[in-house]
Amino acid sequence: MVSVHSSIMKLSNDEIADIFLGKLKVLNGSTGVAPLDQAEGSAERAAFYLKFTGKSQAQLKAFWSKVIFTGRGRPPRMLANDAEVIRALQEDSRAIGYVERNSADATVRILR
């Protein structure tokens, strides 16, 4: 989900996967996106990545180690919980994050 001020209206599953894997940084040629992660070991994080990328947390770690140690990028900014993700979304219209469905409020737009 994104801030209600975001220009992102919808995203495909592949686009969501590529955004969080650092492969897609600009949408429609101009809109920058800044993905936000939940804490390592959190249930939200494990479920999100398994659904959209098919990767377990160990595979995700292996994936990012290839990116980090070739100087090509870093994983998304990591936040502690749903409340922090929602606060960050309100502050940054480029941000995109995921939370437990019940945690979402009117300040954010649910994409999926």
């Binding site: 492969k23 940084k25 600009v26 390592e40 377990s56 160990a58 595979q59 770690k61 980090i68 070739t70």
Partner: protein, 432 residues
């Protein structure tokens, strides 16, 4: 945060830098914070990050009269030198990356692993400054590991791969991997397909020590073009890399041939290892939907002169069952063609020159035949037993072609070429 970073950055990395370019990069990396810290911090990005990876592993080989080694640059490994050798797979690396502005960043990676002189003296693997012209077009200058093959630039990060080490039949075809120069990376997205294009140009010196012969492989005018297509779980990649290679260690051999007049000069001209053009091509495919994976790669090297050409391929598949990943690899490397050279015609030489000429002919033919010809069948398992930690166990059955010593080195008396050997490796890898 600024104070902490600057202190750690200086303390850890200054002592190992030597080359001017690398020094400059280091200085920019460390001194660069002072100004841009606030700007980058506002953007919510990390200014500075420290990361590390490593592997501690031991390897045993059933061939006790030669060594199974980590690559074709080092003098010793498991077998004749050590029953269980930590040299083959062990590595420790630390990296500092800095982002000065949204566009400008730098990375410095120092690696400690067995070197050509058998020491573990740390070496700079990556040191470059990168500028993002757009988020999808970046240019980097400094030291880069050229992505000649699919895994060349990540081959040391055992944690990133299912196997204990990338198949040597393909990854040791051409051991020159560093590139001091410039690199351009361009990403284009069409529908759900991402096209990555890498262009690089530069030079590098790679030191080796094998079977008592030591020296450097000097690659110049090293050009690289790599194109990768990614769509979901599927990726396909092709690479092309021409360069000009010099191995000064062969100089004395061909100088000696030149003493024999026109026929000797013709041989020296044909086989010399000075400024010889090399060409490297490769193609690979990887399908990894998560629950299982399959990948394969093929590569070919052609080097004018004594080194000749060879090719290799591998195919691998594995299954992910929870934290356990059993896998298999089938790999082969072969010379492009069997080569021999009649050399100097001994019948036309004065009797006193015959022994020297015969020795030179023999030395040249030994060098021509010294191209690995082997097939390896491997089976292994990876266990992700904790976050950021994995344990691997791998068994390799290496079948050397008749009369060939494969990628082995440090031959002891009684070694029989063309045999078979079994190699067992156990390792623990981490990323931080």
């Amino acid at each position: 945060m600024t104070e902490h970073c600057a202190r750690t950055g200086r303390g850890t990395y200054y002592p190992v830098m030597n080359a001017t370019l690398l020094k400059t990069i280091g200085a920019v990396l460390v001194l660069g914070f002072v100004q841009p810290v606030v700007r980058a911090a506002e953007a919510g990005d990390d200014i500075l990050a420290f990361d590390a990876f490593g592997t501690l592993g031991v390897v045993h080989s059933s061939e006790g009269r030669a060594d199974f080694t980590r690559n074709t640059l080092v003098p010793s490994g498991a077998g004749a030198s050590q029953d269980w050798s930590p040299k083959v797979d062990s590595v420790l690396a630390g990296q500092v990356s800095a982002r000065f502005t949204r566009q400008l960043s730098a990375v410095l990676q120092v690696v400690s692993e067995q070197r050509d002189d058998d020491s573990y003296r740390p070496r700079i693997e990556w040191a470059n400054i990168k500028y993002e012209i757009t988020p999808d077009l970046t240019v980097a200058a400094g030291r880069i590991v050229s992505p000649i093959l699919m895994l060349t630039d990540t081959r040391r990060i055992s944690f990133a791969h299912p196997w204990i080490r990338p198949p040597q039949e393909v990854y040791e075809l051409y051991p020159v991997t560093n590139n001091d120069g410039v690199n351009l990376r361009w990403r284009v997205r069409l529908g759900g397909t991402t096209h990555l294009m890498d262009l690089a140009y530069g030079s590098s010196d790679t030191h080796y020590s094998r079977n008592g012969s030591a020296g450097a492989a000097r690659a110049r005018k090293q050009f690289l073009l790599r194109s990768t297509l990614e769509r979901g779980a599927l990726s396909f990649s092709v690479g092309y890399s021409p360069a000009e290679l010099t191995l000064p260690a062969f100089g004395p051999l061909f100088d000696a041939f030149r003493q024999f007049g026109a026929p000797g000069e013709a041989i020296a001209e044909r086989y010399s290892a000075e400024h010889r053009s090399t060409r490297y091509i490769g193609a690979g495919v990887n399908y990894d939907p998560g629950r299982w994976f399959a990948m394969g790669e093929w590569a070919q090297v052609k080097i004018k002169g004594v080194l000749g050409g060879h090719w290799g391929w591998y195919a691998s598949t594995g299954l992910r069952i929870g934290s356990i990943t059993p896998y298999m690899i089938w790999a082969q490397t072969r010379p492009s063609r069997q080569r021999s050279e009649p050399g100097l015609d001994l019948d036309t030489l004065p009797p006193e020159s015959v022994p020297v000429a015969a020795a030179l002919n023999a030395q040249l033919n030994a060098a021509l035949a010294n191209v690995p010809d082997q097939t390896t069948l491997s089976a292994g398992v990876r266990w992700d037993f904790a976050r950021s930690l994995c344990l691997k166990l791998q068994y390799d059955h290496v079948d050397l072609a008749s009369g060939n010593a494969g990628t082995l080195t440090n031959f002891q008396s009684g070694f029989q070429s063309g045999g078979k050997l079994n190699v067992l490796g156990v390792s623990v890898s981490f990323v931080l």
